[in-house]
Structure formats: C-alpha cells, structure tokens
C-alpha cells in the first residue's frame, strides 16, 4: 500500500494538467483563503466591536457553542448540494466564521484591564483605545482564531469537489469512484500537507503582525494563546 501511494505521488503525470495535483492544490488553497478572508471581513470587526463594548458577548459564547455542536460536514455538504456552483463556497465561509469571531473577541477581552483603564484615563477616545491598545494586544489570539478557522476549512474544502469546483477533494472523489485507493490516500496526504504548510505560513504572519512587546509578555507570564482546537 505504501509503495502504491509513493508510486502515485511520484508519477509526474499525476501532477500536471487540468486535473493534476498542482492545479487542484492551487484551487484548494484559493477556496480556503477566500473563505477565511471573507469570514474574517465580518468576524473581525464584529469580534472587535463585541469585545470593545462588551455588548453581545452572550451571542459570541452561545453562537460559538451552537456551531461546535453542529455536524459541520453535514451542514457544508447540505449547503453545497442545495445551492450548487460557487455559492457552495458560502458554506466554507460559515464554517470559518465562529473560530475567527471567538478568537478576536477573546483577544480583546484578554487585553490587561489596567492597560485599558490607563488608556481611558489618559484621555484616549473609544476609537483610539480600540486601535492603539486593544487591537495590537488582541492580535495573538485573533491570529490563533484565523489559524483555527483555516485548518477547519482546509479539511472540509474537499466538499467543493462535490459541486464540481475541483480542489484536492476532486482527486479523492475520483479515486473512490474508480476504486483507486492509492489515489485517495495520496489526496488525503496532500490535503494534510497543504494544511500544515498554510498553518506554518500563518504562524509566520502572526510573528510578523504581533508586536514584540506582546510576544515577550506572553512568553513571560505563560499566557500563551489557547491551544488550537482539535480537528475532527
């Protein structure tokens, strides 16, 4: 079996062309990045708002738990089958949303209350407080949420192939149809590999974004970003 997988992976014919690994991996990546970015576009401002004002925190907690209880794969497949075509990608956006939202919210809430109090007391406006104090100090957890979301979406994007959008899931489904288990296993390995690479890239991005003082503080107090939630 292992030799079969190795043989499949090493066959250049499987990598090139319209249906090849490179093209499918590119599509896979594109869908994931799109889904997470689209989710972040709404979830980050919403998380910042809720964290900053404290209004609606019940919503974040309740919504987050409800989402965790949902059978995600079923939901995503459902939306994909119902809507067909590229609208199916909306399912991935929905999937990415809660992790980014709760990461952002938790990040803002975790900013030391003394720093926020001092910011207020020295005469920062609400907006200045958010941009100059809360956001920079929330970035570690915020980016943790983004990495969480990305991993979940990476694993689930295989579903895009069901509605003919391609991606590495295409190889998986195809392998199943024609009974090529070496191809299926290879596709699964490739998805995992891509997920790890993207996560590493995001780790790098986090390192670039998070101010050094915040990183040092986390290292010093042991207040590390919460461990990433386990994947199914």
């Amino acid at each position: 079996m292992i030799t079969d997988i190795a043989a499949w992976l090493l066959d250049p014919a499987n990598w090139t062309g319209e249906e090849g690994v490179l093209r499918q991996a590119w599509l896979h990546l594109l869908y994931c990045v799109f889904a997470v970015c689209a989710a972040a576009l709404v979830a980050v401002p919403l998380g910042l708002y809720i964290g900053h004002t404290g209004r609606g925190s019940v919503f974040v907690v309740g919504f987050g738990n409800a989402m965790r209880a949902l059978p995600t794969l079923g939901l995503v497949t459902g939306i994909a089958v119902l809507f067909r075509g590229s609208v199916a990608l909306a399912a991935l956006v929905v999937l990415a949303f809660p992790a980014v939202l709760s990461g952002t919210y938790a990040g803002v809430r975790a900013v030391p209350s003394q720093a926020v109090d001092a910011a207020k007391g020295m005469g920062m406006t609400s907006k200045q407080r958010l941009w100059q104090v809360e956001l920079p100090n929330a970035l570690t957890l915020l980016m943790g949420g983004v990495r969480n979301a990305m991993l979940q979406v990476m694993a689930t994007t295989a579903v895009a192939a069901y509605v003919g959008l391609g991606g590495l899931g295409q190889l998986l489904i195809e392998g199943q149809t024609i009974g090529r288990y070496d191809q299926m296993a290879s596709a699964a390995i490739l998805i995992a590999l891509l997920a790890v690479l993207v996560d590493l890239a995001l780790a790098g991005l986090t390192w670039l974004l998070v101010p050094r003082g915040v990183t040092l503080t986390a290292a010093n107090t042991g207040a590390r970003p919460r461990g990433r939630r386990k994947q199914r």
């Binding site: 003394q114 001092a118 910011a119 020295m122 920062m124 100090n137 101010p211 503080t217 107090t221």
Partner: protein, 370 residues
C-alpha cells in the same frame, strides 16, 4: 485645586459608594484619601477625571465643573497613575510615555524627546528606554507609569494605589522619589491608598474615609495622629500613633553627646576606657558597629569583632529617627550622623523624651534646667 461639592454616588442597585461629601484639595499639595476597602476612595478619585460620574453634587478642577469638559479632553489634561502602572505591553517604555504627547498631536520625535526627559526625571536608567514593560521590575514599571502621567505636564495628578503592588523596600523608594518630584514640580496631587503609613508619609492633608463613603476626618497627618476625630480614626491610624507622630516633631534642642571611638584596624593599645561601649568607625569616620564593654581585642580590630549598630539618625531629621536610633542600638546610644554619614555624636532615648516633656510643660522644664 480640586473641589468636591456635596458629591454622592449611588449605584442602580441602591449601594451608596460615597455619601454627600465635600472636600477641597489645595493647589500644589499632595492630598491623600485613605480608608479600608469599600470606603469610596477610588470612586472619589475617579470622579475627578469623569471615569465615574457622581449621582449628585459637583467636582470642580481649578474652578471649572468637570461636567463642562468633554471626557477625553478633560482626561488628557489630568495625570493618571494606577496600581501595577497599566503600561501598554505592546509599546516600549519610551513610547508608553510618549503616548499622551502623541494624543496632543505632537510629532513622534518631539513626543519621544519629551518622554526621554521624563524617564530621566523619574530616575529610570537610560538603557531601559527601549525595553518593553514586561522586561522591567514592578518598581521600574511604576516609575514609567508616573513619567507617563507627567508627560503632558498636567497641573493635576490622580494616583490610585500606585505603589500597592510592589514590595515594601521598593515602595519606600518610590514614595521618596514622589516626594522629591513633588518638591520640583508642585503638582496638585490626589493620592489614594489603604495604607495609613503611606498616607501619613506622603500627604500634606489626609482624608480618612469610612466604609459606606463617609468622610471621618480631614486634617494634616500630625493632627490626625495627635487628635483622631473618633474611634474609627483612632483604630484606623493604629496603635503606634504616638510613636509615629514623632515623625512630625522637630529635633530643635537635641544636642548630641560624645562617645569613645576607635577605628577599624586599631590595636587594643589604642582602645580607650573599656568600661563603656565604644563606637567603631571606618577611616572616613562613618560608624561601623560597637565594641561591648570589656570585650577582648586580639591584634588589629576587624569588622567581625563588632556588634552591629542600630539605625542611624541624620542630624536635623524629626525626633522619630533619633528615638529609633537610640532604641535600636545595642549600647542604647543612638548614633547621629551628618548627611554624608559621618559620625557627629550620640543621643539617648532619655534626651528625646526630655525634649518632648519640655515642650509639654515649657515652664517646668526651664525651671529644672536653671
């Protein structure tokens, strides 16, 4: 000047944090609000920069009702120091201090230059300027907190238990530093603490608050210790208040007596009469310790043959130091030194008590000495 005019704070659930309370903080002085937790001291302080709005009454800063100013603008003109400093973890020490000048629209360069000047003023070593708050000790962080509050040169400074989270030795250093700074700057400072010793040390006026937001007494510290207004104040200022009050009693009339001395390195031949305690000095005439009466000396006198001395009393300081020096010395003789630590003489507890007695009954004492 800060004026509280019949301010009252009642929360929606009916709890009253501050009863109708009036208080005036004079310009250029440190006024301390002190009391147990739940006495409303922090609530009062936070009313000044509108972090909390009173339910009724008014707070005036330099004659203007704070409600007439928009909160952010008002706060930018008032220095604010809190417990554990509340520094921004993501900014360097220098940029923390530069924050308020930046809010006022100064260029980054000007703001940083101002910040560096202030950090020097509060005694933070220059090499720490580009560090992050987490890389500083608690005491250093609090210095930065003070520098940050002073960055816009505000006439009024609010300090909410700023030194509570640091250890006693560091706290004492920070208190001395604050007094030194205040001597240079002359701000109007409102200082909140639960520590009566801190209140008595720092405050030119001290307001003692009682649980439920009542003002129990508002007086200069010496009066507070000498004439506590009621049982609550009496118990709050503590049992040692008679002794602590000596911190405010001048040492006029205290004349140091002389004592036999030797130097480190002297041999037994140099040591004078051995029936009394002998004070041992270093080559610069600074006290090092005591030789007990009759103790044998072998060869040259070294440090390890000495008995450690008590606290040193700097000539001219209040009587508390003189009494403590006498009580803590093994010989019962308090060593008096000048500002450079050079030995001037010794005082006894009896001398201190006599001075106190003579001030209580001036005529009798004069009669006795004549």
């Amino acid at each position: 000047m800060i004026e509280f005019r019949s301010v009252r704070k009642q929360y929606d659930d009916g709890t009253v944090a501050v009863q109708e309370l009036s208080l005036t903080v004079p310009v250029g002085t440190i006024t301390v609000l002190v009391g147990p937790s739940g006495c409303g001291k922090t609530t009062l302080l936070r009313m000044v920069n509108r972090m909390i709005e009173p339910s009724s009454g008014a707070v005036l800063v330099d004659g203007d009702d704070v409600r007439d100013s928009e909160p952010a603008g008002l706060r930018r003109g008032i220095g604010y120091v809190i417990q554990q400093a509340g520094l921004f973890p993501h900014r360097t020490v220098r940029d923390n201090v530069a924050t308020v000048p930046r809010l006022f629209g100064h260029s980054r360069r000007d703001a940083r230059r101002r910040a560096e000047g202030l950090l020097e003023r509060v005694g933070l070593p220059a090499e720490l300027r580009k560090r992050y708050p987490v890389q500083l000790s608690g005491g250093q962080q609090q210095r930065v907190g003070v520098a940050r509050a002073l960055a816009a040169d505000p006439p009024v400074l609010l300090m909410d238990e700023p030194f509570s989270a640091v250890d006693p030795v560091v706290r004492e250093g920070l208190q001395d530093e604050l007094l030194r700074l205040q001597g240079e700057l002359g701000k109007t400072v409102l200082f909140v603490t639960h520590d009566i010793d801190e209140a008595v040390k720092l405050g030119e006026n001290v307001a003692v608050l009682r649980q439920g937001g009542y003002l129990a007494q508002y007086a200069p510290p010496e009066q507070l210790l000498a004439e506590p207004a009621d049982d609550f104040v009496t118990s709050f200022v503590g049992r040692d208040r008679g002794y602590r009050r000596l911190s405010f009693v001048a040492s006029d009339g205290l004349v140091p007596g002389s004592v036999d001395t030797v130097r480190i390195g002297d041999t037994s031949a140099d040591v004078p009469s051995r029936a009394e305690w002998v004070l041992v000095l270093d080559p610069h005439d600074r006290p090092r310790g005591w030789l007990p009466p009759g103790a044998p000396i072998h060869g040259q006198l070294t440090e390890d043959q000495l008995i450690a001395g008590g606290s040193l009393y700097t000539s001219g300081a209040p009587l508390r130091g003189a009494l403590d020096a006498a009580l803590s010395a093994p010989s019962g003789l308090g060593v008096v030194v000048d500002e450079d630590g050079v030995h001037l003489g010794v005082v006894t507890a009896r001398q201190v008590l006599d001075i106190l007695e003579s001030r209580r009954h001036p005529a009798v004492a004069e009669g006795a000495t004549q």
